[in-house]
């Protein structure tokens, strides 16, 4: 997957690293390229990983432009909605976070130009990573669950595996996946490139509000899954869906349940006990480590 988006010189260097274990590649204009493997950061040299700064490869503006162009498959117009939101999702689920100068029109960010930083995040399919907690999420039926963790702790991988587990154990739930950023199933030409099992309908690249509305009406899901909720609109959509008798599986950025409680927009969901289970993840010692499973009253029931 990486060879499709990286220029040959950079991919040559990446090829000299344990490529299957890479979590992140950070490319900043005129700065040293950094690769993260299992939560640890290294400089990238022509010979592979290096702890010495003087051997590190320096990213150029042309390199960043070339990666952006390749990631967009030479069709920037098809990615402007993503670019203005600060990311590009490529075929294979690689998500590139981008930083640059905003083009603002009437107080709305229309685009990002002069891109100066790229964070290439490589997705992993870790089959069975959620097996240990599945028992806590099922009580005759699936319980609405929220995965809570700071960025980079494996929320998306975890969610993908839970969806797969729901299918593979043949619970026969109709799962509706609202994959706004193409990260979970990474549909390419409508076909998911990452395995989300047999019982999953996927609405890709649509805003969550639209996904919930259209999905509930037309696809009759038992469970709705979505990633990285956070805005008031998201919470409103989640609440509406929960009152329709649909169970939810979602994730949110927060480092603890105390942090989660501080989020005003989330108060209603906590107060109404929309989520019956909260799973807290951490990146230490490795991404995807479960800190604990909590019930709707934030009581720890596991770990």
């Amino acid at each position: 997957m990486l060879e499709k988006i990286l220029p040959s010189t950079l991919f040559g260097a990446i090829n000299n690293t344990p490529i299957d274990k890479i979590n992140e590649i950070r490319i900043r204009i005129n700065r040293r390229i950094v690769v993260t493997i299992d939560g640890k950061s290294y400089y990238l040299s022509q010979d592979g990983l290096s702890s010495k700064a003087d051997r590190a490869l320096i990213a150029s503006g042309e390199m960043i432009e070339s990666i952006t162009k390749r990631a967009c498959e030479n069709s920037v117009y098809a990615f402007t909605d993503q670019i203005k939101n600060g990311y590009i999702t490529t075929k294979g689920g690689i998500r590139i976070g981008i930083a640059g100068e905003g083009v603002i029109d009437k107080n709305v960010v229309k685009n990002l130009k002069n891109i100066n930083s790229l964070v290439i995040r490589v997705p992993r399919e870790v089959r069975g990573c959620s097996s240990g907690i599945m028992g806590y999420l099922m009580q005759d039926e699936f319980l609405s669950t929220l995965i809570v963790s700071p960025p980079g702790c494996g929320k998306t991988t975890f969610i993908r595996d839970i969806i797969y587990q729901l299918s593979s154990k043949n619970y026969c739930y109709n799962v509706l996946l609202i994959d706004e950023k193409f990260e979970i199933a990474n549909c390419f030409n409508g076909v998911p490139t990452l395995d989300v099992g047999n019982f999953c309908d996927i609405l890709s690249g649509v805003p969550r509000g639209y996904g919930f509305e259209v999905g509930v009406k037309n696809l009759r899901p038992d469970i709705i899954v979505t990633d990285e909720v956070g805005t008031e609109k998201d919470c409103e959509a989640l609440f509406k869906a929960s009152t329709s008798g649909i169970r939810l599986l979602a994730s949110i950025h927060a480092s603890s349940l105390e942090d989660l409680e501080k989020k005003e927009e989330f108060e209603r969901l906590i107060h109404n006990k929309v989520f019956k289970r909260y799973v807290l993840l951490t990146a230490s010692p490795t991404p995807g480590k479960v800190v604990g499973v909590y019930d709707e009253n934030f009581r720890c029931i596991s770990y």
């Binding site: 498959e73 098809a78 685009n111 030409n189």
Partner: protein
């Protein structure tokens, strides 16, 4: 004498072939610019309605003439990073265009896909207009010169035939 007649027949065939080849050159140019106009129409439609990516547009495009299809394949190789910009500029599939025309076409294609949807629409609209003008010019050239060259070379062949007989 037989050898002489044989040689003159060969000259006759050669002259007619050259005439046909030159006339074909005009036909190819006309068809190429027509395909170019149609491609920009198709591009505009597919970008505006479904924001299809360039590769998808090429893969699902309608059947174009041999020359334009060949150029699209070269362009696709550039998009998929199999060849670089300089190789596309040297593109052999555009042998029937002069250097300026070739540069114009390649630059047009290199600029595709680099901007927002609205700007791409504008670009394809401009591409359609410019190329339809070119197409009309090529159409006139073809009607003027295509049959003329065939006739000229037939006359030339007959002239040689008469002189040497």
């Amino acid at each position: 004498m037989t050898f002489k007649i044989f040689l003159l027949c060969v000259v006759l065939v050669c002259c007619i072939s050259i005439g046909i080849k030159i006339s074909k050159h005009y036909a190819i140019r006309e068809r190429f610019y027509k395909d170019l106009c149609d491609y920009f129409k198709e591009y505009k439609l597919k970008v505006s309605y479904s924001k299809q990516k360039i590769l998808e547009i090429i893969d699902t495009s309608r059947n174009y003439g041999k020359e334009f299809s060949h150029f699209l394949m070269e362009y696709k190789r550039y998009i998929t990073c199999e060849i670089d910009e300089t190789l596309l500029t040297k593109c052999n599939s555009l042998y029937f265009l002069n250097v300026e025309e070739r540069k114009e076409v390649v630059d047009m294609f290199l600029s595709l896909g680099t901007m927002s949807k609205e700007e791409e629409m504008e670009k394809s609209r401009a591409g359609e207009i410019i190329n339809s003008e070119k197409y009309n010019k090529c159409k006139i050239e073809k009607s003027k010169f295509s049959s003329l060259y065939v006739k000229l070379f037939i006359i030339l062949a007959l002239f040689i035939f008469i002189i040497f007989i």
